[in-house]
Structure formats: structure tokens, C-alpha cells
């Protein structure tokens, strides 16, 4: 299993990882995902959002509902949000 290193909670690291991960879900992607652009603009449909959320949850080990992606719809915003969540959960995770 590929588990994301939970030590790396810096938003920039998370962002780099999310950019790579989300690319797997996007058909016909020519260039790298721009972290400031809305994922919907790349054609990430509602079903794929569910898959992406489940995938991120699996790899980070924290609950990630599709609503997180609805509310933080660019990779940059999502990375900030998840980093904050991870930082909050960390003491309990031990």
C-alpha cells in the first residue's frame, strides 16, 4: 500500500502530491495541473470527485468527504485545508 508520509503536512508538499494524484483522474491532460485553477474546469466530474476523495482519504488516513473538494475546489485550496486537518488530527493518530 502506498501511504502518504503523514509527517509531510506542509501545504506545499501536499500540493505537489495532490497535483500528481489528481492528474490520474483527468482524461486527456496535456500539461501539469495548475493548483490555482478549479478542478471542475479540468473536467473532473461528480463521480470522479467521489473516487478522488476516497483515494485521498485512503492515503492520508483522515476522513475526506467529496464536500471538501466542493468547498476547496482548487488543488491549492484543498492542500491548505487538508494540511490544517492533518495537523489537527495528528495528536490523536499516535
Amino acid at each position: 500500500m502506498t501511504t502518504y508520509g503523514v509527517d509531510q503536512v506542509a501545504p506545499s508538499d501536499l500540493q505537489r502530491w495532490l497535483v500528481e494524484r489528481v492528474a490520474e483522474y483527468l482524461p486527456d491532460l496535456g500539461e501539469a495541473v495548475d493548483p490555482t485553477r478549479q478542478l471542475g474546469e479540468y473536467g473532473l466530474d461528480s463521480i470522479a470527485v467521489v473516487a478522488f476523495a476516497a483515494d485521498v482519504e485512503e492515503q492520508l488516513g483522515i476522513a475526506v468527504d467529496p464536500t471538501a473538494i466542493w468547498d476547496y475546489p482548487s488543488v491549492g485550496e484543498l492542500a491548505e485545508h487538508l494540511a490544517a486537518e492533518l495537523a489537527e488530527r495528528r495528536p490523536q493518530a499516535a
Binding site: 461528480s46 463521480i47 476516497a54 482519504e57 485512503e58
Partner: protein
């Protein structure tokens, strides 16, 4: 009113013997009402006398809803007589679950008071132009100061003409996206006739007694307080709340198969052909036994899923579409096969068995109403890699309380439901431990086969590429989601047998052999023939229950 058995008996008595042609709430009255595209007034009156809508209201709000499995079982008393009567009443749930999930306290109390007072609510989500794609809905609520102005059309809405309140899905943001819609909860008195044009009633093939209405709204002002939950959360609230209804409505519909089977048994036991009752012809026997097994398997999956929503609510986003997909498919096929042994009697609109043709029409919407079976597979598919990965890594026995109606349940927490399961499905994870159990020798090979199939499914699932999981998923990939539902049904049946009391029919291996053989069919290839001894045991139980006036489902309770 007290426990569920007492409530169910009371309801059965109020509705009376369905076979009695003089009963104004019986089958003959239901068929006659269907011809008029109505429901039988005496049956409606009996349900009001019982205060049926209180069964949909949580106890904390003064109603009688505590356990989903109980509510479903009670509603089977209604559905078995007339599915139109059943849906028109259970339709109250479609609207109210959203209010229980997202409403402010005063909205929740208003809905509760309305329902406990036998009044009605309609759920106006559907727009003909958008079908299952509710995120595409256009009906708009535009903000104008402290008010909202409504514009647009809603069509084929059950009970719209008789509703005292509506829950409505409206676009509150013109830009597309999952936060573009909000739900509104409003009294029907706000529907100013100058601004709301009622559309002619929509007519349907089955469930003809359900009034399907529509409306065209142009510039109707409503106060801001009608918004249900935070603005923009309309689709999200529905994704939580409809986990209840997407499993509960198909689960109630198993009672249609109960009646179809009862009518077929009634007919074929009395009809003499070639010097013996038709029910003794091998072909007829097999069809009856298989339909009985299908009923038990549908109820086993629905019972387990309904109980899981209270015991392990994190898996509701998986179990609800699984129940809708599998149960709707099995029920529709089973009624279709029974119609072949009913022969010409199936085609009659009069006589003692006329209720059969009505059921054959009424059962169809279970496959597409509320959400299409295909859309359920689309909802399951993106969760598969996580579910299968975890089931493979962490097999564990499922809690016994999932499978037996005897065990108490924690309170239903609707706002706490999740939109994804995060890979957690205790039912699927239990399959990996099925072979460690003390299984009756006769069923072991069938269980081994189910477990092998699940292991193969896990392997394929792990290899799925993220891009294959979108709405445009190819058919063979979508079939994996169908196979997952079959695995869940097998796990549910194994659990129900294990948890059954020793002297119960459900503790015997024969029904388990039958359901596992039937499950070869739905997505894993042709179902296999039932061994003679298994068929005998099923027919014996079925005939005995018929003689004693018991229901044919898991519970085998007294039917009036």
C-alpha cells in the same frame, strides 16, 4: 402504541383480509381503485386511523420512528395490499428525511407535527428535462433582498396536489457545481395560485393510484427562512438523507413479491392439470421455490443494510445503492418469472387473481423511480478500489447485531451520515472470514465459490485505473460494481443464517443453499438448479406458511 409486532398486528387488523372480496380495503378494492387511477378510500381511512405517518417521524420529535428495519417491516403490510397506497404514504419519507437531516429545530417540529397529524408532504426534486442528473436541475430560487423568488418547473411529483408542505430542490447559484443548489421547505399555502400554474396529472403504466403532479412557477416570492440547511447544501443533504429512502423503498417493495408469490401459489395449488394440482408440476415447483429464495435474499440484504445504517452508518453510501440495484433487479425478475406459471390468469384484469397484473406493473418503478439502477452502479463504482482494498487487507467477522431483528439498535444519526464510506464496509469485510465459520457441509462448496469470486473481484478492483471510474465508465467495469452487490447479498444471507435461532427455518442450511445458488445469477453468470432436497424444503415451508397465513419473508409473521 408499543412494540413493532403489536403495531404490525394492529395495522393488519385495520386493513382486514385482503382476499375477502367484500373488504373495501382488500385486493378487489385495490384493483377496482387502480382502474379508476385511485387508491381505495377505505384503505386510506384505515391508514389514517392507524396514524401511519407517525412511523416516519423520529421518536425525539414525537413520532414512532426508532428503527428503520421495523418501519420497513410495518410498511410491508401496506405494500403487500397495494403498492400505490404504499408509495403514496412512504413518499412522505422522501421529503421528511431531508428535514430531519438538515432542518432547524422549528422546521423539524413543523414537519413532525404535520405528519403526526396525518397530513402530507411532497418531495419536488424531479424535472423531466434532467432525470437522474439532479445537479443539472434548473428550477431557480433567486435572492431579492430578504426574500427568494422562485421560477421554473417541477414534474411527476407524487402527491403534489394533496401536499400541505413541500421539500423542493432549487438552484440558488447560476454557476454550475455541487454547491449550486439548496433545498427549500415550504408550506403549500405559499403557492400563490397567481404565480403557480398546476400541470395536468401525469399518467403512468403502474402505480396508477399515485397522483403524479407538476407545477410551473413564475416569480413566486417566499421568505428566506424556507431554506433547509446552509445555502448551497441541497445536493449534499440529499446524498445523506436519501441513503435511507434508496434502501427503504426497495426493501418495502419485497412485499409485492410476497403477494405475487401468494397469488401464484393460491392459483397453482387449486388448478388441476393432468390429474394433479399445477403446483406439483416440476417446472411450477421450481419457479415457486426460486421466487421464495429470491424474496428471502432481498429481505436479508435489506435487513442487514437497514440495520447497518444505525449500527455502522459509515457504509450507508455503499449499502443504499447496493440495495436499490440488487433488490430492484431480483424483485422485478422474480415477478416476471411467476407470471409465466400464472399463464393466462396473469393477464386478467378481473377475477380472484386480478391483483397479479397490477403487481407486474407496479413493481417496475422500483428499478428507476427515485434513482435508476444504473445510476446506483455509477455511485458505487468510484468507491470500489477503496472498499475492495480494505476488505482484502482487513477481513473481519461482521457484528452479529447486523443480522438479527432481536438486537437493539443505536439511534439513527442522519446528519452524521457520510457521502463516502472511506473503504469501510463491515459486510464486505466479513466475506473473507466466511470459511472460518462452522458452515453446514452442504453449503460449503457454494460459499467457497462466493469467497473465490470476491477474491477475484478484489484483485481486479485493485488494478482499476482512476480514469476508469468516471460517469463514462465502460460496461465491463460497471459490472464489477454489480458483482460487489452480489457479494454483499451473500454476506448478508450468511450472517442471517448464523444469527438465526436454532429452531428457526432460517437456521437451516437449505434456504442458504438456495439463495447462494440464486446469487450465481444476478451478476456472476447463470444461477444454478436447486438440489431436489433443497427445493422440497422450500416448498414445504412455503406451503406451510400459506396454510397458516404467515408472511413469506424473513420474519414469517401473521398476515391478516
Amino acid at each position: 402504541m408499543t412494540d413493532i409486532a403489536t403495531r404490525a398486528d394492529h395495522l393488519e387488523k385495520l386493513l382486514g383480509d385482503p382476499w375477502d372480496p367484500a373488504n373495501p380495503a382488500g385486493f378487489a378494492a385495490a384493483v377496482a381503485a387502480d382502474e379508476r387511477e385511485e387508491t381505495a378510500p377505505a384503505a386510506e381511512a384505515a391508514l389514517d386511523e392507524f396514524g401511519l405517518h407517525a412511523e416516519f417521524v423520529p421518536r425525539a420529535l414525537g413520532g414512532r420512528l426508532e428503527r428503520l428495519d421495523d418501519m420497513i417491516e410495518l410498511m410491508r403490510s401496506v405494500y403487500r395490499r397495494d403498492a400505490a397506497l404504499g408509495l403514496a404514504r412512504a413518499g412522505q419519507l422522501l421529503a421528511s428525511v431531508n428535514v430531519w437531516t438538515a432542518g432547524r429545530p422549528e422546521q423539524r417540529w413543523a414537519a413532525a407535527e404535520l405528519l403526526t397529524d396525518n397530513r402530507r408532504m411532497a418531495c419536488a426534486f424531479h424535472e423531466l428535462a434532467h432525470g437522474n442528473d439532479i445537479a443539472g436541475n434548473e428550477f431557480a430560487a433567486q435572492r431579492a433582498g430578504s426574500r427568494l423568488t422562485l421560477h421554473g418547473r417541477k414534474e411527476s411529483i407524487a402527491n403534489l396536489d394533496r401536499a400541505d408542505a413541500l421539500v423542493l430542490l432549487a438552484r440558488t447559484d447560476p454557476a454550475d457545481g455541487p454547491r449550486a443548489h439548496s433545498q427549500l421547505f415550504l408550506g403549500a399555502d405559499l403557492l400563490d395560485p397567481d404565480r403557480v400554474r398546476r400541470l395536468a396529472r401525469f399518467r403512468s403504466v403502474g402505480l396508477r393510484g399515485v397522483h403524479l403532479g407538476g407545477m410551473r412557477v413564475s416569480g413566486l416570492p417566499v421568505p428566506e427562512e424556507v431554506v433547509l440547511g446552509a445555502p448551497g447544501t441541497g445536493v449534499e443533504t440529499a446524498s445523506r438523507a436519501f441513503q435511507v429512502t434508496r434502501m427503504a423503498l426497495p426493501a418495502m417493495s419485497t412485499a409485492l413479491l410476497d403477494t405475487a408469490l401468494r397469488v401464484t401459489l393460491h392459483h397453482t395449488r387449486r388448478r388441476r392439470l393432468y390429474g394433479r394440482p399445477a403446483a406439483e408440476l416440476p417446472m411450477v415447483r421450481t419457479t415457486l421455490a426460486e421466487a421464495f429464495a429470491d424474496l428471502l435474499l432481498c429481505e436479508a440484504l435489506s435487513r442487514t443494510a437497514a440495520r447497518a445504517l444505525q449500527l455502522c452508518p459509515e457504509s450507508g453510501s455503499v449499502h443504499a445503492p447496493a440495495v436499490k440495484y440488487l433488490v430492484a433487479g431480483v424483485l422485478t425478475d422474480a415477478v416476471q418469472r411467476l407470471s409465466t406459471v400464472m399463464g393466462a390468469e396473469f393477464y386478467r384484469r378481473d377475477g380472484r387473481h386480478a391483483v397479479f397484473q397490477k403487481i407486474a406493473r407496479d413493481i417496475r418503478p422500483v428499478g428507476f423511480g427515485h434513482i435508476a439502477r444504473a445510476a446506483c452502479l455509477s455511485a458505487l463504482l468510484p468507491q470500489l478500489p477503496g472498499l475492495l482494498g480494505r476488505a482484502r487487507r482487513a477481513p473481519a467477522p461482521a457484528p452479529e447485531a447486523l443480522f438479527t431483528a432481536v438486537a437493539e439498535l443505536p439511534e439513527l444519526d442522519l446528519p452524521g451520515l457520510r457521502l463516502v464510506a472511506g473503504g469501510r464496509d463491515v459486510l464486505a469485510a466479513s466475506l473473507g472470514t466466511a470459511l472460518d465459520e462452522d458452515l453446514p457441509r452442504s453449503v460449503r462448496p457454494l460459499v467457497e465459490e462466493r469467497v473465490r469470486d470476491f477474491v477475484r473481484l478484489c484483485e481486479v478492483g485493485a488494478a482499476l485505473r482512476p480514469r476508469e471510474l468516471s460517469i463514462a465508465a465502460e460496461v465491463p467495469v460497471r459490472e464489477l460494481a454489480a458483482r460487489y452487490t452480489v457479494s454483499l447479498a451473500a454476506a448478508a444471507c450468511l450472517g442471517v443464517r448464523r444469527a438465526a435461532a436454532a429452531q428457526d427455518f432460517l437456521a437451516r442450511p437449505q434456504w442458504l443453499t438456495a439463495v447462494l445458488s440464486r446469487l450465481e445469477g444476478p451478476a456472476g453468470g447463470p444461477s444454478r438448479d436447486l438440489p431436489r432436497e433443497v427445493e422440497d424444503a422450500l416448498i414445504e415451508e412455503l406451503t406451510d406458511r400459506d396454510d397458516r397465513g404467515l408472511s413469506f419473508g424473513l420474519v414469517g409473521r401473521p398476515y391478516a
